[in-house]
């Protein structure tokens, strides 16, 4: 290929937040026309911050940005558009009650008449060029995630953007939708546009990008051509030292292996009457980790919440097996119970919800008070016991190496990984017999993730029945004992994680697709 034209040149970009965290430290980055650049790094390595500086969301403290050889200053998203740079954020910036078209033209004032039909025509042209499928009249609130993402990209192209930044675009997509996105990205590359994709998924990097730039703890760790590298090398660059990507799966042999939770014919509908779980039956055992795989929104949340007593299923049962002696079983029915009643039965059931600061912790309360959320009912005194939660908070901070100024700090001011450590630490402190966790490592870096895996394994060793809802199939395959695959609210199978393959899981996850668009 001919010598490529430099599109963007960033030099010495430094940005720190409130003097506390150095998010970017003297980072250099080059982007060429007609290439797909993968920006790779762990969480908190400064990928998004760097790109936000290019897209005008943040203004770097120092450093220069050149576009096509010309030094520019980008102080707002509008400046970025004017220089042909646009970014699709992880949280879409779309107005829900507007149509696709209204969202696309929002903020454009070319001085001309406000003419939506001319704009619709232009949108149609863009869609034809790149192979998008957008209905300009459709409201954003009626769209799927992938459609919303398409609107975001069309919005940028409509503004004549030459450099597109996509922040973890595939995190919310099914594999098929991701493939479609990759096709569009290749079309854009063929049109001479530069595409920067922020990701930490190595397989994506290897399959789509031309070049990889790696950030590590806010600094530039190097760049390589995709054709000349492999997953292990990229990981080492990301982490800075050689790491084993393997996750432990200790064999646990409980003396008395038995069923713990028995779910029978569980059907759950949401308040709009949509079936979320359809005739689901399975069992969990003590001393094992049961993985739950599936495209997000396949009923994982409803399943965990039904067990934890937060959802009222339409039909079916959830039984907790207290003990078995020979043929005799002592069983408690959990359907119709709320968490307080379940606790009153003496069942120690812990739930680490997906929405950490929404359901799990109270962001504006400090560490100790958050610990108390689980213990305030203890005792008979009209006053709460503040001492025990404080000790627990100190222990969790200590054992899990939580980075916090102290236990009197508000939880919301901590980083995602530390928030999760506190939540998991609190939940396992009560020595649960059932531990339900949803996407516990989402947004955590490799180090923190492994710490969480170890904690789960320790619970498994203690004889707890762990249910682990995950999205990364590699992790599920390495960590879990068995994996239950959900697809559209139905169980499409339960496999042994030791023998199953990723391809097999992928097929099971999408098995029942096709009926729906």
């Amino acid at each position: 290929m001919a010598e490529k034209q430099l599109a963007v040149r960033m030099r010495g970009i430094t940005k720190d937040f409130a003097g506390k965290v150095l998010a970017n430290d003297n980072v250099d980055l080059d982007v060429y026309h007609g290439e797909i650049l993968a920006l790779l790094g762990e969480n908190g390595s400064g990928k998004t911050t760097l790109m936000n500086s290019l897209a005008g969301i943040y203004f770097p403290d120092s450093g220069t940005i050149e576009i096509d050889g010309e030094k520019v200053s980008i102080a707002s998203p509008k400046d970025a558009f004017d220089h042909g740079i646009g970014m699709v954020h992880q949280h879409f910036k779309l107005v829900n009650v507007f149509t696709a078209l209204e969202n696309i033209v929002l903020g454009i004032n070319d001085g001309g008449k406000y003419d939506l039909s001319a704009a619709a025509e232009k949108v149609r042209q863009i869609c034809d060029t790149y192979g998008f499928d957008v209905n300009p009249k459709q409201k954003v609130c009626d769209m799927s995630v992938s459609q919303k993402q398409t609107v975001e990209i069309v919005k940028l192209l409509y503004r004549g953007v030459d450099t597109l930044i996509l922040d973890e675009p595939t995190a919310v997509l099914t594999p098929q939708e991701a493939d479609r996105l990759f096709d569009v990205m290749r079309n854009m590359r063929a049109e001479g546009k530069s595409v920067i994709i922020i990701t930490h998924k190595l397989n994506e990097v290897l399959s789509i990008s031309d070049r990889v730039a790696v950030l590590r703890k806010g600094t530039f760790a190097g760049e390589v051509l995709t054709a000349e590298t492999n997953a292990q090398e990229l990981t080492d660059m990301m982490v800075g030292h050689s790491v084993s990507l393997n996750i432990d799966r200790p064999e646990s042999r409980p003396r008395h292996r038995m069923e713990r939770i028995r779910v029978k014919n569980l059907t759950v509908r949401d308040h709009e009457g949509v079936t979320k779980l359809d005739d689901v039956s399975f069992s969990t055992y003590n001393g094992e980790i049961l993985g739950i795989a599936g495209i997000s929104g396949s009923g994982q949340k409803e399943l965990l919440e039904s067990i934890a007593g937060l959802q009222r299923p339409e039909s079916g049962s959830v039984e907790y097996v207290v003990n078995t002696v020979g043929e005799l079983e002592e069983v408690e029915q959990l359907v119709g119970m709320d968490p307080v009643k379940i606790a009153e039965l003496g069942i120690v059931l812990s739930f680490v919800p997906e929405d950490r600061l929404g359901m799990g912790l109270v962001g504006n309360m400090d560490l100790a008070d958050n610990m108390m959320l689980r213990s305030y009912r203890n005792g008979t005194s009209p006053f709460v016991d503040r001492k025990a939660p404080r000790q627990l908070a100190e222990r969790v901070v200590d054992e899990l190496a939580v980075k916090t100024p102290g236990i009197d700090t508000a939880v919301s001011s901590l980083s995602g990984g530390n928030v999760q450590k506190i939540l998991v630490g609190r939940e396992i402190a009560s020595a649960p017999t059932v531990l339900l966790c949803a996407y516990v490592v989402r947004g955590l870096d490799v180090g923190s993730s492994h710490l969480i895996y170890d904690l789960l394994n320790r619970q498994k060793g203690n004889g707890a029945s762990v249910v682990f809802v995950g999205e990364d199939l590699d992790v599920l395959l390495e960590l879990c004992d068995r994996i239950l695959v959900l697809c559209g609210g139905k169980v499409s199978g339960i496999v042994d994680a030791r023998t199953a393959t990723k391809a097999q899981l992928g097929l099971m996850m999408t098995k029942m697709e096709g009926g729906e668009a």
Partner: protein, 331 residues
């Protein structure tokens, strides 16, 4: 027999202050600001107009010198200025300082009502009159000028052309507001600010400017409602607390008309009618029944709130970020 020809003009006249307040509040809420200060703003608007007109009237040595144009311009400009100041206070506190919108709004209402009553009392003391009110008959007659020929057309003229010009201005304002919101770039951007400021910000829209302008324009429109009440409806007579709780009804009307200024026109007239229905329904001598009829607008408001919260259509929801402050670097 129910006196429809007598009833409708009264209902409309009752509805006009509500319509001004409602249109103003819709524009304000479309920018994401929930201005509960509207009742106060309407008081201040009315009082500012009264003060302007009072000092103009009393500056004249001879009532014959009264200039109709000045007699109209001075109160209107004073009213707009007073309401604008209220809007600026609200914006400075909630947008610039990001204070809580509910608290700020309620404080402004308390302040506005107090402002109106304090200066109302002062003016009454100045006139040294026996009755606790100020009468601005000359100014009022300017505001109550009707279209000469049309208003004489029997019942037709009674129903459609018996109003002062501010009434027509209220309806025109609502229609224009609706057009601007739906069919212009400014309207699209304003709605985007109220729905999702982060999105609007990323699209290069100046959030602060839109919030300030929408809120201040909304306050000025609402203020005119107060002015209409004193100058036209009440024949230029100000007495403390006479305006009552119309400001609150105006805010309730925003929900009733699902944030659409065009719907605000019939619904404010309907509420105006409900407000005075008790005068037209024979209640006999039992004043208790009369009081129950007076409750009608409030009962309907509650019913509407119940029904509208049950019917959860996406179209008829308040702007998504209504009541929330916006700060770009919040994450």
């Amino acid at each position: 027999m129910f006196d429809l020809v007598g009833f409708i003009p009264r209902a409309v006249a009752q509805g006009i202050p509500l319509l001004f307040g409602c249109t103003g509040e819709i524009i304000t809420e479309k920018s994401g600001n929930l201005n509960l200060g509207i009742p106060g703003v309407m008081y201040v608007g009315a009082m500012s107009g009264v003060m302007g007109s009072f000092f103009y009237e009393s500056s004249l040595a001879d009532p014959a010198q009264f200039n109709a144009l000045l007699g109209f311009l001075i109160p209107v400009l004073c009213c707009l200025l007073g309401s604008l100041l209220m809007g600026l206070i609200y914006c400075f506190l909630t947008v610039t300082l990001r204070a809580n919108q509910n608290v700020t709004g309620l404080a402004l209402t308390t302040f506005g009502v107090g402002f109106g009553n304090f200066f109302g009392g002062s003016l009454i003391a100045l006139t040294g009159s026996d009755v606790p009110s100020i009468a601005l008959g000359t100014t009022s007659s300017v505001f109550r000028t009707t279209i000469p020929v049309l208003s004489g057309l029997g019942w037709f003229g009674e129903i459609f052309f018996s109003y002062g010009f501010l009434a027509y201005l209220a309806i025109a304002t609502a229609l224009v507001a609706s057009q601007v919101l739906l069919n212009t770039r400014v309207g699209l951007e304003l709605r985007a600010v109220g729905e999702s400021p982060a999105t609007a910000d990323a699209a290069g829209i100046d959030i602060t400017r839109y919030k300030y302008i929408a809120t201040c324009v909304g306050c000025m429109i609402a203020g005119l409602g107060g002015l209409y009440y004193v100058m036209d409806y009440a024949n230029g007579v100000w007495s403390n607390d006479a305006f009552g709780d119309r400001g609150w009804l105006a805010i309730a009307l925003v929900i009733f008309s699902v944030w659409r200024p065009t719907l605000a026109i019939p619904s404010s007239i309907l509420f105006g009618g409900l407000y005075i229905l008790y005068l037209y329904i024979p209640t006999g001598s039992d004043s208790a029944i009369r009081e129950i009829y007076k409750m009608l607008p409030y009962v309907v408001t509650i019913l509407v709130l119940v029904v509208s919260s049950m019917r959860n259509s996406r179209e008829n929801q308040p702007p998504e970020s209504l009541g929330l402050p916006y700060f770009r670097e919040d994450r």
